[in-house]
């Protein structure tokens, strides 16, 4: 069913191997995402028809409806897509790097780093969570923690097993710090911080979209170019070295990519869990491909999960707007249990 297309330049300067099944699945998921986004745009406390939405998107005007769709719903939906895609691809890269199907940005402490930094910031400033500085602070936290993990796990290079264990330990310590700050905060700040910790896209603005997008636009192409080295590593360290892959250098690069993707996503949407864990598995169930082919699929699946979770949180309990993170856990947890069962059968 899946065929391989190979595109070559005239003198074999470059070549690209394309798997038809990857192309088809990517296309189907992209169409699904586009249709879902338009449908999500129609619903809210002020229902609109699909035609009205399409009309507003193609020919913007100054009406109240256009304001709701373009300034409130559209940025939020775009944020859900970008954040979900970033988390899905970060999880994919991490699982490939650590060669363990249970790794993800939240398990190895990257998310906890961002959370601790964000809660510290909210506590120090007593700010209400809308401050423009919150996102850069959280991203900084993610990078500092990733640096800490790498430094602590470094013994003549990074070993994936040590990386995971050190990440788990740091995550536990950082969670304690976060809890401490929450307990010390006044109730209102604590609740606010808690909603951030669960992951919410409430009140996403266009400037959030324009701040997040550049990160992803840098990380994704770089990942697509370099991911074949992860395929080499998955055959074992010796094989990767034999194929001419700079083992430690590439490990570091992939770690930085995963942190940048996950850190920027968490910075703008709060600590949404599970997407980084489950999206890569769903992608692997759909196609049997190397990491390069899996990246867009894992990203699209992550985007779909968060889009739907946020949609439910936004619409199902009007007038209350519940954090998307709850519903991601609601979708993610049952799948996770199924996944654990399957992994057990495959391995046992």
């Amino acid at each position: 069913m899946s065929r391989t297309l190979i595109l070559r330049s005239r003198k074999d300067r470059w070549s690209i191997k394309l798997n038809t099944r990857v192309l088809v699945v990517t296309g189907v998921l992209a169409v699904l995402l586009a249709v879902s986004s338009v449908l999500a745009l129609t619903s809210g406390s002020h229902p609109t028809s699909v035609l009205e939405v399409l009309g507003t998107l193609t020919a913007p005007n100054q009406s109240e409806l256009a304001l709701i769709i373009l300034e409130i719903r559209l940025p939020r939906i775009l944020m859900a897509i970008l954040v979900g895609a970033a988390l899905g691809s970060a999880g994919m890269i991490l699982q490939g790097l650590v060669r363990n199907p249970l790794a993800s940005p939240d398990v190895i402490g990257i998310t906890s780093g961002a959370s601790a930094a964000a809660v510290l910031f909210l506590w120090l400033g007593g700010v209400t969570g809308t401050s423009l500085l919150l996102a850069p602070v959280a991203m900084g936290g993610a990078f500092v923690v990733a640096l800490g993990i790498t430094a602590l796990a470094w013994q003549r290079g990074i070993s994936p097993a040590r990386l995971v264990l050190v990440g788990v330990g740091l995550a536990a310590g950082l969670t304690a710090v976060t809890t401490l700050l929450l307990v010390l905060s006044p109730d209102a700040t604590a609740m606010n911080a808690y909603i951030w910790l669960t992951g919410s896209l409430y009140a996403s603005q266009w400037h959030d979209v324009t701040a997040l997008a550049p990160w992803l636009m840098v990380c994704w192409p770089l990942a697509l170019i370099k991911l074949r080295h992860l395929d080499a590593q998955s055959m074992g360290e010796d094989m990767a070295l034999g194929l001419g892959s700079a083992l430690q250098g590439h490990r570091l690069l992939f770690l930085v990519l995963a942190v940048a993707l996950a850190g920027s996503a968490v910075a703008y949407a709060g600590a949404v869990g599970f997407i980084g864990l489950i999206a890569p598995h769903m992608a692997r169930r759909l196609v049997n491909s190397g990491h390069t082919g899996l990246l867009p699929i894992a990203a699209l699946i992550g985007a779909l999960i968060l889009l739907y979770a946020d949609w439910v949180g936004r619409v199902a309990f009007i007038p209350r707007d519940l954090p998307a993170g709850i519903f991601v856990a609601g979708i993610g947890a049952p799948f996770f249990v199924y996944l654990l069962y399957r992994l057990r059968r495959e391995l046992g």
Binding site: L152, R162, G273, F274, G325, I326, G330, V337
Partner: protein
């Protein structure tokens, strides 16, 4: 390390002395300081009119007892799990057993309006058992048995699962924010002595069973075939130890919520001092665990008065460096 029996006895006495000191300081330090004379006075001649006497009897006693029981329980559970899984990183906190118990307790408290610890403890047992079974099955790797890194990852993932469920419940029940945060953050305060008393017989039974199994535990460090050759029913012993762990961890969580790292670090301290013989290791783990939690709780009251730091946070801050040290030196396994 102490090697000869007299040295070990002396070490044990020293640890008991420390436990006594920690107990006394847990009773006298706090927002309202009490002098030692006053403490003795309140024990021999209780005067309900005195504020200090009232504080000791109504608040500090229950708190001290909770710390001792929870500290000892978590430490023994950790020691048993480290032997059972042959994994130095195992503990009820890291492997998700506490989180499972905590989530079921939160569900019992919010959805079924259970309030007394003697009801909640059954929810905690179910949760602890669920998490233990999940992590046990997930930690296994094809052909190579149980892998430490894989088990830890499975434990962390299971913890993430239950904690995120509990957080979801927390946001849906904002009016019960305080009480759910209590379970999530872990605390030994605010438990009535009468409320925890019904849990003590169960707890004591599990403790005695663990001590009776010391000899079998000593053998579990050997290869499975050797153990069978020595005539030990490995499966039965493992199952019994698993049950003991679930009871100890479940009662601890039902009393005090999520308190991490006691179960991880105390067995390492006890092993460093008294060696790997479980006849020494288990009782000493209990003594050191109780001392550690008492000290952590007393410290948590004193750092930034009048506020208290949750004791779970204190133990996590103490335990993280040790975990990182162990993680760096665990043999490459996967």
């Amino acid at each position: 390390m102490l090697t000869t029996p007299p040295a070990k006895m002396l070490g044990t006495l020293l640890c008991l002395g420390l436990l006594l000191a920690a107990t006394v300081s847990s009773l006298i330090f706090g927002h309202i300081p009490v002098s030692l004379a006053m403490l003795i006075n309140s024990l021999t001649d209780y005067d309900p009119g005195s504020l200090e006497h009232l504080v000791i009897h109504s608040e500090r006693f229950s708190r001290t007892v909770t710390s001792v029981v929870v500290g000892a329980g978590l430490a023994i559970a950790g020691a048993l799990m480290q032997t059972l899984t042959r994994n130095p990183l195992a503990s009820p906190g890291i492997l998700g057993i506490n989180a499972g118990a905590m989530f079921f307790v939160v569900v019992g408290a919010t959805l079924f309006s259970l309030t007394s610890p003697s009801q909640l403890v059954w929810a905690a047992f179910i949760g602890a058992a669920t998490a233990a079974v999940l992590v046990y099955f997930l930690g296994q790797e094809a052909g190579r048995g149980v892998s430490p890194v894989r088990t830890v990852l499975a434990g962390v993932a299971v913890t993430a699962l239950f904690v995120s469920f509990a957080q979801g419940l927390l946001i849906l029940n904002q009016d019960r924010f305080e009480s759910i945060l209590f379970w999530l953050a872990g605390s030994v305060s605010g438990r009535d002595l009468d409320a925890i008393a019904p849990l003590l017989p169960l707890f004591g039974g599990a403790l005695i069973l663990a001590l009776l199994l010391s000899r079998q535990l000593n053998l579990l460090g050997l290869d499975d075939e050797v153990i069978r050759g020595l005539g030990l029913r490995v499966g039965q012993v493992r199952l019994l130890i698993g049950l003991v762990v679930i009871v100890l961890a479940g009662t601890s969580v039902a009393m005090a919520g999520l308190i991490g790292f006691v179960g991880l670090i105390v067995p390492h301290m006890a092993r460093g001092l008294f060696g790997t013989d479980h006849r020494w290791l288990l009782p000493l783990s209990a003594i050191i665990g109780a001392t550690l939690l008492l000290a952590a709780d007393t410290l948590a009251r004193l750092v930034i008065p009048p506020q208290e730091i949750p004791v779970g946070v204190m133990t996590a801050l103490l335990g993280t460096p040790l975990f990182l040290h162990l993680a760096r030196h665990v043999r490459k396994v996967s």
